[in-house]
């Protein structure tokens, strides 16, 4: 590993001046552009969202079910392939610039929710329905084929691996939409300039509409215990693009986590597998709650009832776990912690 560091030092130490200079100060988020009246936007939303949702015509068949819509807060839920429940709460209260709320905009809200669900639960196969087949063909399916899987088997394998390594039971997503713009000339120009559609196998001439969302306060909560923090405070400061292509809406190609999904596809096949490599940790159980055993108040392990049986707080234990470690923070106090799947737990003599 040390030679890696040496190579990094030599190569990374020689990066261009402009990157060193530009990192002197944090980049500024794009200034939020406020258009139209908030009151007008809210009125449109209040009238149209319940109507649109009950029509059900724009749901992409991805299983989102509305829980409630009240005071510009929309809540939907869906269940992942391995039973993880996702609750998505979207705050629409600050939206401005919406002059005509259309079905596409709700589709896109769900798509973004699904993308976050996929991202947060590590089940990247849930992203695939958000991108056109042409794109998946060149980026994902070829890898499935190489690994000896059909499309269905590949997706199943990814979901299965994610559920084994990160068996969250409930992922709660909360985000605020600050602006929705459809076919805005400047944003559309930027979309075609920044997003390489051709590389993703998409014919730009077939794109009939471009939608841009701006977000803030995007947070994920896991099993009522852990949180990702505000993950996209700045990354999505410039917003997310959706586009209409051959009559359907899709998420911009740059959002596809194809590299991650392929990693999961190969997990367990590669030798050694990074994901399934096992490590061991010694420590004291500081809490057992919500399906997790916490060691030394800093490392949470997924531990079902069977695995946690017979243990209690204060026990000295050794934990063997999969080295697919997720960094999060505890909801209660914001304390940084790690999360991983325990393989086995054994009592150890504290002496």
């Amino acid at each position: 590993m040390k030679s890696f560091g040496e190579q990094l030092n030599n190569a990374f130490g020689g990066i261009d001046d402009r990157f060193i200079l530009s990192a002197q100060n944090p980049p500024k988020s794009e200034k939020r552009i406020l258009l139209g009246s908030i009151a007008a936007a809210l009125c449109v939303l209040l009238v149209l969202i319940p109507f649109l949702v009950t029509q059900g015509t724009f749901l992409r068949g991805d299983g989102w079910e509305q829980v409630f819509y009240e005071a510009a807060t929309l809540q939907k839920k869906k269940t992942g392939p391995y039973g993880t429940l996702c609750m998505m709460t979207v705050n629409l209260g600050d939206i401005s610039g919406v002059t005509e709320y259309q079905p596409a905009e709700d589709v896109c809200l769900e798509m973004f929710g699904q993308w976050l669900f996929s991202w947060g639960s590590m089940d990247y196969s849930l992203q695939f329905s958000l991108f056109p087949e042409e794109h998946l063909e060149s980026y994902v399916y070829q890898e499935f084929e190489k690994a000896g899987y059909t499309k269905e088997q590949g997706m199943e394998k990814i979901s299965q691996t994610a559920s084994e390594l990160f068996p969250f039971r409930k992922v709660e997503i909360q985000y605020t939409v600050t602006a929705i713009k459809r076919d805005d000339p400047e944003l559309t120009r930027r979309f075609f300039q920044r997003i390489n559609l051709e590389k993703a196998g998409i014919d730009p001439n077939e794109v009939t509409s471009v939608l841009h969302y701006s977000f803030e306060q995007v947070r994920l909560y896991y099993d009522g215990l852990l949180s990702s923090g505000n993950i996209f405070d700045d990354e999505l400061g410039s917003g997310v693009y959706f586009y209409e292509y051959k009559g359907k809406w899709y998420l911009a190609p740059n959002m596809l986590e194809d590299d991650m999904s392929i990693d999961l596809l190969h997990a367990g096949k590669k030798k050694p597998s990074t994901y399934y490599e096992q490590k061991k940790l010694w420590g004291t159980i500081t809490s057992i709650e919500n399906g997790y055993i916490c060691i030394d108040d800093s490392f949470y392990f997924f531990a079902d009832e069977e695995l946690a049986k017979g243990y209690r707080e204060g026990d000295s234990v050794s934990v063997r776990y999969y080295n697919a470690v997720y960094r999060m923070e505890r909801i209660e106090d914001g304390k940084k912690c790690k999360v991983a799947r325990a393989v086995s737990i054994k009592k150890e003599d504290p002496s």
Binding site: M1, S3, G5, G14, D17, F19, I20, P27, M328, K336
Partner: protein, 184 residues
């Protein structure tokens, strides 16, 4: 004083060249050095060596950016000093290098200058492809070796969010290098 004037002072071999440089950039240079060495005295010594190194390099070199040139010299000198210091000691340099080490291919061929330049060019291209926020986080962590909480404060994000972002950036870099034929 403007950078061009300071560079000109070096070219003139003026005795106020180094004090002028120090007045303007001592703080960031010390910061770069200290994060690598985690030792105030060592860092101060390295800064003195940095001034000497710059004095010897200008002329003939005329850097496009005095700031990045000086930081680069300070970084290299500090890393060399680090190598001479306790190897087992884990400081921010060691930690940040270990963090990213998984993404960088281990191959003896890369040790060659030409290969090294290719790898640097590839890193430059990859950095270019990143969103500004991600690029800032990555460069601050692995070039300036800032601790994560400091980056989180600057970005007004949580530590966990920065860790998550870094994890994903490293995976993207891994993929990027792999696609370009590096033996990862």
């Amino acid at each position: 004083m403007e950078d061009e004037k300071i560079i000109e002072l070096f070219f003139q071999r003026s005795e106020i060249a180094i004090p002028s440089l120090a007045q303007k950039y001592e703080k960031p240079l010390f910061s770069v050095s200290y994060r690598i060495l985690q030792n105030r005295e060592d860092a101060q010594e390295c800064i003195k060596d940095t001034y000497l190194g710059i004095w010897n390099a200008i002329p003939p070199t005329r850097p496009a950016s005095l700031y990045s040139f000086a930081c680069r010299v300070a970084r290299n000198i500090s890393i060399n000093r680090h190598k001479h210091n306790c190897a087992a000691k884990r400081n921010s340099y060691t930690v940040s290098i270990e963090e990213i080490g998984d993404c960088i291919p281990a191959s003896n061929t890369v040790a060659e200058d030409f290969e090294l330049q290719l790898l640097t060019d590839t890193l430059n291209q990859w950095l270019e492809s990143l969103r500004p926020q991600n690029r800032y986080i990555f460069v601050r962590r692995y070039w300036y070796m800032d601790p994560v909480p400091q980056i989180a404060t600057a970005m007004k994000m949580s530590d966990a969010a920065i860790y998550l972002r870094l994890d994903r950036l490293k995976k993207k870099l891994y993929k990027y290098l792999k696609e370009r034929g590096y033996p990862v």
